[in-house]
């Protein structure tokens, strides 16, 4: 039943060259090789608001920041048992993403659901960075298979397992979909615009609620994030 679709499939380094990034188009399927690390609100607050020095040499160690908490545990002897890996929704980290790109030099932000094209234009484009979205969501078992080893776990005690900084050595790690390109275009926004065009017809025969709510919109092309 595998359908023959025209999507391009590409292997990409987790420390990609500018040329490799320039070659990517939104909607391409990407698999990563190298080292990625997890960082989300816990790490962002600690580094950007509390001013605590990062425990890694970024971006030399890795230019790929994964918005993720793995389903994983650390045994008493320090070894790891890592099962499934999937992303968390990235739009919630909008207020930190500019300073974070400054501080980390990340070229790849990997997460769920993308960010706004405004964020891409204001923060990603000047840094030559792009956004990769996980697939599904989520293909946790497939991504788990792509992790060769957990090479480090930083700030477990300070942030807990879910918010700690996991450093993952990966090979053929994916699939991901290119959501933003170096010009700041967004695949999700392209798709939303296509779908919005026919929503009025879908809504025929419905009626807005009698009791309104503050802040409510009937503009169904709104990106919501």
């Amino acid at each position: 039943m595998v359908k023959d679709n025209k999507l391009r499939k590409i292997r990409l380094s987790a420390n990609p060259t500018a040329e490799a990034l320039a070659d990517l188009r939104i909607g391409d399927i990407v698999y990563l090789d190298g080292t990625v690390y997890t960082a989300r609100e816990g790490v962002y607050k600690r580094v950007l608001e509390d001013g605590i020095a990062m425990p890694m040499d970024l971006p030399a160690d890795s230019a790929a920041n994964f918005h993720c908490s793995p389903a994983a545990t650390q045994h008493d002897d320090g070894s790891f048992d890592l099962g499934a890996v999937t992303a968390t929704a990235s739009f919630r980290f909008s207020k930190w993403i500019g300073p974070w790109l400054d501080a980390s030099g990340a070229k790849l932000i990997i997460g769920k659901g993308g960010m706004s094209s405004k964020d891409y234009r204001e923060h990603f484009v000047p840094h030559g960075a792009i956004y990769l979205t996980t697939v599904g969501y989520g293909t946790g078992a497939l991504l788990g298979r792509g992790v060769k080893q957990v090479s480090n776990l930083h700030w477990k005690k300070e942030l807990g397992l879910a918010q700690a900084m996991w450093v993952l050595d990966v090979e053929n790690f994916g699939p991901f979909i290119v959501e933003s390109d170096l010009d700041g275009n967004s695949l999700f926004e392209r798709e939303n615009a296509r779908i919005s065009a026919s929503l009025d017809k879908v809504y025929e025969g419905t009626r807005p609620a009698i009791l309104k709510r503050f802040g409510e919109t009937d503009d169904r092309s709104d990106e919501m994030i």
């Binding site: 099962g83 968390t88 769920k112 419905t206 009698i210």
Partner: protein, 310 residues
């Protein structure tokens, strides 16, 4: 008397099964959606998910890295007695949740809402939730675990009788479109709708409609069953598919549950049970037998009873 160690051991098995094994009814529904889907990107996503379920079972690893918020539904036959009583039962379920978080492993998702304290075991204040139901007859206890994803796809609204079916449809579509964008609801999903009750029971009904009913079953009220069919089709005609890409797979099934409400109101809740519809069930008898299944069989005639006496 139902042995408490059997309860804890069974509960630990259920935690792993829920996290790793996609239930057959949902899998069949998703395979059909994948066959029908013609959007390039949506098709790719569904194929990847089908591949992912196989990988999870082969490797015995969780199908999704966000293993949701584990919760328990406990149903007891009227004659069932538990070794150590309900306090021992709740302790066993909390121990099983903590142990499985390390052994599967699951993601330790549960934190304090303000202080963000994480015990790294999915146990804390009010976590995991344990809810109860009872059935006439029976010397058994049913343990149902559901690990529902937590952040997107659920909404509540107070509607009124004059909003009518048109208002219900509007709120249903609003919920699907708003949370479907960028795939935040992790669709295609089993959509549960709660109608009536009061605000809290409306949410409970809708969540149970999403999590405790099987794909393909129908509400015993034929008019509600017809609405379930209509809403499933309506959701799949939005033009949106997996991850919010152009497509036609949003709803694997739509289940509606109702409860009697205030005469002036018509409460409505919508819940999306994601692409990793984690649920697992076991019945434990007082002679020690354990039977595993995936159908919670929660909504019996007794649970939906309408009269004073049973």
């Amino acid at each position: 008397m139902i042995n408490i160690e059997v309860i804890q051991k069974t509960a630990e098995s259920l935690m792993a099964k829920a996290a790793i094994e996609i239930p057959d009814d949902y899998l069949t529904g998703l395979q059909k959606a994948a066959n029908d889907e013609d959007g390039d990107l949506s098709s790719f996503v569904l194929e990847a998910m089908l591949e992912n379920y196989v990988a999870a079972k082969e490797d015995r690893r969780a199908m999704c890295g966000d293993t949701g918020c584990p919760r328990w539904y406990v149903k007891m036959g009227n004659e069932a007695q538990i070794d150590g009583g309900p306090i021992a039962l709740e302790a066993a379920l909390r121990r099983a949740t903590a142990n499985a978080t390390k052994s599967v492993p699951l993601r330790p998702n549960r934190v304090h809402p303000l202080w963000r304290t994480d015990h790294d075991n999915n146990v804390g204040i009010g976590a995991p939730e344990i809810e109860y139901g009872f059935e006439p007859d029976g010397n058994w206890i049913d343990l149902v675990t559901v690990h529902k994803g937590g952040l997107f796809g659920t909404d509540y609204r107070m509607l009124f009788p004059s909003d009518g079916i048109e208002g219900i449809k509007r709120f249903y579509l609003d919920s699907l479109v708003a949370f479907g964008k960028r795939g935040l609801a992790c669709q295609p999903a089993i959509i549960g709708i709660g109608l009536g009750g009061s605000k809290d029971t409306c949410m409970v009904l809708g969540k149970r409609a999403a999590c405790l009913r099987m794909v393909g079953d129908r509400n015993p009220d034929p008019k509600i069953a017809a609405l379930e069919d209509e809403f499933k089709e309506l959701g799949n005609n939005i033009g949106m598919g997996a991850m919010g890409f152009v497509g036609k797979s949003m709803v694997i099934d739509c289940n509606i549950e109702v409860g009697y409400c205030h005469t002036g109101g018509m409460q409505m809740s919508v819940h999306a049970f994601c692409l990793s519809s984690r649920r697992a069930v076991a019945r434990i008898y007082d002679d020690g037998r354990v039977e595993f299944r995936t159908d919670p069989a929660w909504f019996t005639d007794y649970q939906r009873r309408e009269t004073v006496e049973w």
